[in-house]
Amino acid sequence: MNATVIVFLVLYYVVVLGIGMWAMRRGATGDLEGYLLGGREVGPLVTALTLQSTSMSGFMFLGAGSLAYTTGYWSLWFAAGDIGGGVLNLSIIGRRMRKLSQMMGSLTSIEYLEARYPSPVTRLIAASLSVFLLAFYVLAQFIAGGKGMALVTGLDYEWALLIALAIITIYTLLGGYLAVAYTDFFQSLIMLVGVVWILGAALVHVGGFTAANRTLAEIDPTILSIWGTGLGFEGQWGVVAGAVLVFSAGYMGWPHVVTRHMAMKRPSTARLAGAYATVWNLLFVSTPYLVGILAILILPNLDDPELAIFEVAQTLLPPAVTGIVMAAIMAAIMSTADSLLLQTGSIASRDLYERFINPSASEQQMLWVSRAFVLAIGIIGYLVALVEPPAVAFVVIFATSVLGSAFAPAFVCAVWWKKANTPGAIVSMVVGAATSVLWELADLAATTTLAPVTVGLTASTVAIVVVSLATQRRSPVPPHVLAAMEETARLGPIPERLIALSDFALRSEAEEIESMLRDGEAEQ
């Protein structure tokens, strides 16, 4: 156990906790919008960096390093899409989702889906899928935290996992969205400094980028290929498309990420946030993959490739710098884990408990349900991560593929296509999730050379288009939703009368009853 590293790590936790508490006090509006969306007061820089640090999880330090270590430059296909994920998300749905969610009075991304595609079934399916997948996704963060903590402290994995999990869970229970957003902002800067520092040290160690590539070519020229070590993915464009899509187009379907749009200060915040996201991604995204590739030269006989970046840091950097880098790694893990846990707890309390079990639940009761859920995920996550920890890269790619396949078309069409209706969205979510899960479980990618996300996204997109068009007459999009969409498309201030629609869903039900009454009168 290295004392200097521990000191830096503890210092990091103290600073993060301090920022979290400051943000909590700053955003303490006392209402649910303040807790879940920071009162919709988040500016472009914090929006961009919370969006990016939330999506750049422990995967970037474990999964990305491992992929690069085992497949060489092929792994950069993931970075190719990921670099543009932020600006793509913000440019396509950012402004419109912010505006529409305000008019609908939605506080969670799932509630937003129900308001846009009015039906309790929309919410039940979306909430259930999200809770399961986000909990699965957070499992990867626990494993990453445990492995990192074990390496830094020298403790056994079991104890390190318990400490990492306790820190993440307690820290999440303390704060709301604003605390998460501001700590994410700080953590994103630490992540950037940490990863660039490791790359710099690694490049110096191997004699520069060109020299490293020449040495890699001497070991195995296929490491430098776009088809992977041993040309394992040669000609598999479907798999390549999946690698590019999962962190770009698929990213528009992640409920914990698109919530960031709803919390922006103004719809136009998306504009500058998109630019900041690209700048940050250009500096950050490819770096862990490059370190993973250089690790082939620096540490050629690694037992666990997932520890490639940890090991490179420990091998090349002095203890004080290793402390900063370890803080960066924990920052990546925590900034994702806290958002996932907060989102899962919010969905469980608001979209499942209040919506379907106890509609008259008080905010206090919902807060307790949310906390109980976070704790339950923590305990289950600990047991799974302890008994049979799956590879971080597998869990992250699986969970994000299914999330993207299930939700991306529903979120995109929600703001762009007036004919996208409730049956179309429900079938799209089910088909997207089922296709990508089956593709993964049956290992169809190996035989068809099509990645689960490629197939899942295609299937869910086709489903929303075909089913919406086929059911247009029987299930038209309600007029109040169409009016809100038209207002969303228009540039300019939102009229007060539309913001005042506090219960968008009730209006939908009222219109349904009016329509039934009219039909009844017509029949008589």
């Binding site: 290929s225 504009r271 630019a275 939102i494």
Partner: protein, 40 residues
């Protein structure tokens, strides 16, 4: 270039270049967004 095959070089630098151009295009096309969304 940098000891990489051309295809890999394009993968490493081509995609970032594409996203830079996409972002510049996005900023140029959305110059009129500034007054959007404030309640009237």
């Amino acid at each position: 270039m940098f000891g990489l095959p051309l295809s890999t070089f394009l993968l490493v630098l081509g995609f970032p270049l594409f996203w830079i151009l996409y972002t510049i295009g996005f900023l140029l096309l959305t110059r009129n967004w500034e007054n959007d969304g404030d309640a009237s």
